[in-house]
Amino acid sequence: MRRWTWGILLLALGVPVTAAWAVKKDEKLYVKARNTRVLKSAVPTADVVAVLQPGQQVTWKGADPKNAQWHQVTEPGGKPGYVFQTNLSTKPPNMELVAKDGKTRAIDPAAFVSSGAAVKALSPGAEKYGNEKGGDYKVAVAQIKTLEGLALKVTPVEIDKHVKQAGLFPVVAPNTKLGTQAKGGK
């Protein structure tokens, strides 16, 4: 039965058609996670061919026949490799709206990082607002600043270490280094 006939049949039956996931060989897919590794083979400890960032596109070649969680792709520079399944998406990450010089524009995650707008701490106005309210609010200001310091120390290196210990998926790589991975895959 042809694909469109199936589509009509599923619609008629009220079954949701998961078109959002439909992908064909040689179509472009987006990388969704920070530090997405393209590896030489379909094993998590393989050599790193490229490290991509959210919003970059790869050409999809298909799932690895031996391990369907790894997908063969061609990275933007043309090198072939394997990416973990959940690093890939048919949809791009959200654009961020940034105001500069009296104008507002939507930018992709990479431009967002390089614009400096991604560097956030408690906003100066909010800090002043909380301190002026005094009491528990002033205490909250100091605590959130401490918390932000703690959060900032949780980098992809710490995340990768935890993911390995917990047996989770290797989605966020610890760094952007290419070539042979350090012992233990770090």
């Binding site: 992908v23 997908h71 709206l97 106005g125 909010a126 607002y129 205490v139 401490t146 935890h162 989770l168």
Partner: protein
């Protein structure tokens, strides 16, 4: 005269709730005199308030989110940060949360996760710009990391989907419309809102703490009504995607929802826990049975990791997890 003017203004603004442009056009065409001209002017101001219905830029989101985070920390009795053990707990929650957030559609926000001292309530909250908080009471009801990840993923989803930000925009518009009324009390915030409605609709909250206070406290008040049913279900749906992406079993999150006693209750707009669990089960089932290689999930590879030693500081769990509350 004053009362006649008041009636006209009330009628004009009241009608504006349905078709402002049409009311203004009709009144102008009728050319009924100076009182009506004032009504026309007032209705035009109300119309201009709709220009505030724009998505805030990231700077406005940071300012709003920061101020809301201060409110959530204050309401939660402060943050658990006393000593290395409590700080270690926050580091762990940030590790779980930031891993999920870096796989979300807003991977580059500076996400911050924190534990509130509140041991009485089973609660999780978030604020725009990437602030997520859980109460100590909630952590006491969590059995494994997949359940914690489910709660954090749900709050990440609210931030990604900009539910609180949309509510803030509604507050901006309603405050602007109030400021245009005949009996409106002039305030710095009101005049700045009216100014913004003549420009691009965006506010510099950092530049004026009075305006920030007015807008943030209005948004906090609006949160009292809770999230809409469709927002809750959308946040759960994205949470399932994030859990599957990271390798957690969404069934654990569903089990946690099942343990709560909340079923709408005070949060009249909330979907029931049965509806939420049914949606989670359906989404996982769809992904398990998907024929598309990109969508198909091997459920056997999903994990429910044990909680680490750092979690002991939250204290013993309770038999009942209480009413599940959630604010954006």
């Amino acid at each position: 005269m004053r009362s006649r003017m008041g009636v006209l203004v009330a009628a004009g603004l009241g009608l504006c709730l349905t078709s402002c442009a049409q009311v203004t056009k009709t009144l102008k065409a009728a050319n009924l005199g100076s009182d009506v001209d004032k009504v026309v002017a007032a209705t035009e101001k109300v119309q201009s308030c709709d220009k505030l219905k724009v998505e805030p830029a990231i700077q406005e989101e940071y300012a709003l989110g920061s101020a809301l985070a201060i409110h959530w920390a204050q309401r939660g009795g402060g943050l658990m940060l006393a000593g290395p053990a409590e700080q270690g707990l926050n580091t762990y929650v940030n590790t779980v949360g930031r891993n999920l957030a870096m796989q979300s559609p807003r991977p580059e926000l500076r996400w911050t996760f924190g534990v509130l001292k509140d041991a009485e309530h089973f609660n999780a909250l978030s604020a725009p710009a990437g602030y997520v908080f859980v109460t100590r009471g909630l952590l006491q009801g969590v059995d494994n990391e997949a359940q914690l990840a489910g709660v954090l993923a749900h709050e990440i989803a609210h931030v990604v989907l900009k539910h609180a930000l949309n509510q803030y925009v509604s507050v901006k518009v309603s405050k602007c419309k109030l400021a245009t009324g005949a009996t409106a009390i002039a305030s710095i915030g009101a005049s700045m809102l009216l100014d913004a409605s003549q420009l691009d609709g965006r506010l510099d909250l950092d530049a004026n703490t009075g305006l920030m206070g007015e807008m943030v406290e209005g948004t906090v008040e609006a949160f009292g009504k809770g999230n809409r049913r469709d927002e809750e279900l959308a946040a759960d749906a994205l949470a399932v995607e994030l859990l599957l992406s990271a390798g957690y079993d969404p069934g654990a999150y569903s089990l946690l929802l099942g343990k709560t006693t909340g079923d709408g209750g005070l949060w009249a707009n909330h979907p029931s826990k049965k509806d939420r669990q049914a949606q989670i089960d359906r989404l996982v089932q769809e992904r398990r049975e998907a024929t598309d290689p990109l969508a198909r999930v091997d459920v056997a590879s999903l994990q429910r990791p044990a909680l680490p030693a750092a979690f002991a500081i939250v204290g013993p769990g309770k038999k009942s997890t209480g009413v599940a509350k959630d604010a954006k």
